[in-house]
């Protein structure tokens, strides 16, 4: 069994093994309440806003290649995106990438979950805090149990970096993650703006410039497309 080498304490080893089961990722509970989203001076036009959330569970890490491969094995689903099966088989602990929004939604449905809205993703990444430092260093490298900032050269396996205060892993700087939110059409200009649906992806990838992505950054992306560094994680409502 290939285990991710970096942030793999005993607790995470069992979590990781559980996460290999389809839909089996460990989840954290976000209790019902009012939480802050957005940021001051944000260029993506989401000022600090208090939003009310019902309680929900969210995966502690993005869906992995191994989980997605099991999903493909058990269904006849053909991904829309440029998902690379051969490469995924070689890196089972890496987050699944190269999936479109539709691919991600079908997986979530299979796992009895759903995709998060952008605001659900954001409050979990901010560890539910109001004044949490919203621009974080995204890159870490472990040496003797201590994490140092570094520049990432490619996608890391899940659990490679420390979690935030509520145990949410890979929250920023590894891969972008799909959300179900639509990008506001009034922020788009030009005659092609209605040519296809534009969604919001969150989190920033290893391809971004250091400190260029905030928890509040709303990245527009056409929903029918995919990227080799765009994946997803799921959420679940308490009653389901």
């Amino acid at each position: 069994m290939l285990l991710p080498s970096s942030y793999m304490n005993l607790k995470n080893q069992s979590r990781y093994l559980e996460s290999l089961k389809p839909g089996g990722s460990s989840m954290i509970f976000i209790p019902k309440g009012e939480y802050f989203t957005g940021d001051k001076g944000s260029r993506d036009k989401s000022p600090p806003t208090k939003r009310v959330f019902e309680g929900f569970y969210i995966d502690i890490h993005p869906v992995t290649n191994s989980q997605f491969l099991v999903f493909l094995e058990r269904t006849d689903f053909q991904p829309d995106g440029k998902f690379n099966k051969t490469s995924a088989e070689k890196m089972p602990a890496n987050p699944v990438t190269g999936v479109s929004l539709k691919d991600a939604e079908r997986y979530a449905e299979f796992a009895g979950k759903r995709l998060p809205t952008e605001w659900e993703w954001e409050i979990a990444a901010r560890a539910l805090k109001k004044d949490y430092q919203s621009t974080l260093s995204m890159f870490y490298k472990e040496k003797n149990g201590v994490f140092f900032e570094m520049e990432r050269k490619t996608i890391s396996p899940v659990f490679s970096t420390p979690p935030n205060d509520i145990g949410f892993y890979d929250h920023i700087g590894n891969i972008f993650e799909w959300t179900t939110s639509a990008y506001p059409t009034d922020l788009l200009i030009g005659k092609n703006r209605n040519s296809q649906k534009v969604g919001v992806i969150r989190g920033g990838a290893w391809t971004n410039i250091r400190n260029d992505i905030k928890y509040s950054t709303r990245t527009p992306f056409p929903v029918k497309r995919s990227l080799p560094w765009l994946g997803f994680r799921c959420v679940k409502d308490p009653g389901n």
Binding site: L188, G190, T207, P220, S226, P228
Partner: protein
Amino acid sequence: MRAIKINSRSIKIIIFTFALLFAASLFVYLSMKKERDWVIDEITFKTRDGFELSAFLLRPENPGKNKYPSVACFHQLSGNRDDFLKLFPMFAKKGIVTLAPNFVRQRANLSAKRITDLKDALEYLSSLDFTRKGKTGIITASFTVETGMYAIQNNPDIIANVIISGPILREESREWITRNSDLAIFNIASILDGNHYLLMEEYTARSLNPLSRNLLIEKTETPFTLPAHGTFVFDEIPEIQNHIADFFAEVFGIDKEADGIVKNPKPKDMITFFSTDNMPINATFRKPAGKSIIPALLIYPPESETRLYYDELINTLVDKGFAVLAPNTKRACRKKTKINLCDMEVNGALNFLREDPDIDPERIAVLFPGFYHYFAIKAVNNNELSVDLIMLMNFRKFREFLDLEKSRSENGPAVRFIRSSEQQKILFYMRKYLKK
């Protein structure tokens, strides 16, 4: 059969009709030719802080009331505007007005002047009577790509961007690719170009304009001893020039080409010589009028800069009876690992001078700025260049000589006045060694 009577009156009518037809055809031909004539002007325009930027402007000679789409070309650090001249004939054919400034105020960070200069160049272009608003594009290369993306943000008139060997773009720039749904991007990258070849997939995926595209140069071997990068790809993979022209024509919706022909494809004094590995290198070459068998000076520019900084010095030297060849920087010759590449260019330049019948092959000197010292020392030790004089100027002195130390911080490197004392210093050495 009925006989046809031809009298002198009929003959006169026939001749008159033919003459009329001929004149009309001639008029139509000349009018069409006039419309097809395009010219390259060397112009200057002022930026918002009063700095004068020089540029090549490709335009129809007689635009009349026609409006044309336009493109502004911004060369990379270590590059020069001359590389874009290769595109001009194709742009004239398509009917695209083109501005290629000498983009001199580039620095390692995104300073305001870099961005405002680029914006001002675009404003200048749109202020011309014969350019069509809303049909403007840019070409940026390497270091200039991010500057270009910054400068065009919130400017919906810029609808096409050719990105050659781009760096990792900031998120703000990536967002603009999606937010301006009319913006089409054309990424060109070599597999040796850092991460651009990888990231261009994301940039294109983010674009809502279906005309966006990528061109990946997978071959690592080029005809030259240099990996394809920035505008050098025009030399290394010439077919890219056609791809760029076709891209702009599609984005601008050019149904009918202007079929323009450039009357003066090469600016005054510009020559092209070839390095010993056959890379074409543009240079300014001036000779004193009416003299034969003259001494010559091969003068190299500071890295990242073009021969234009020397214009005043070149004129002075020519007035004093020297021929001057001032090549553009093509390869970085100061780095240890690049010494052999430098060899190829300097020897190419010397070969060019020696083949000129007006030049005395025994009296050629080479002037290098100090950071070429690795190369200069190697050349002197091995006597590779076969010249009697290599003038190597201390880096600091050289910058002072060019008055760059001060001007870079104030106005950028292009503002430079060679003081007469400095000119005298150069002339002193030249006279001494070349026995003028």
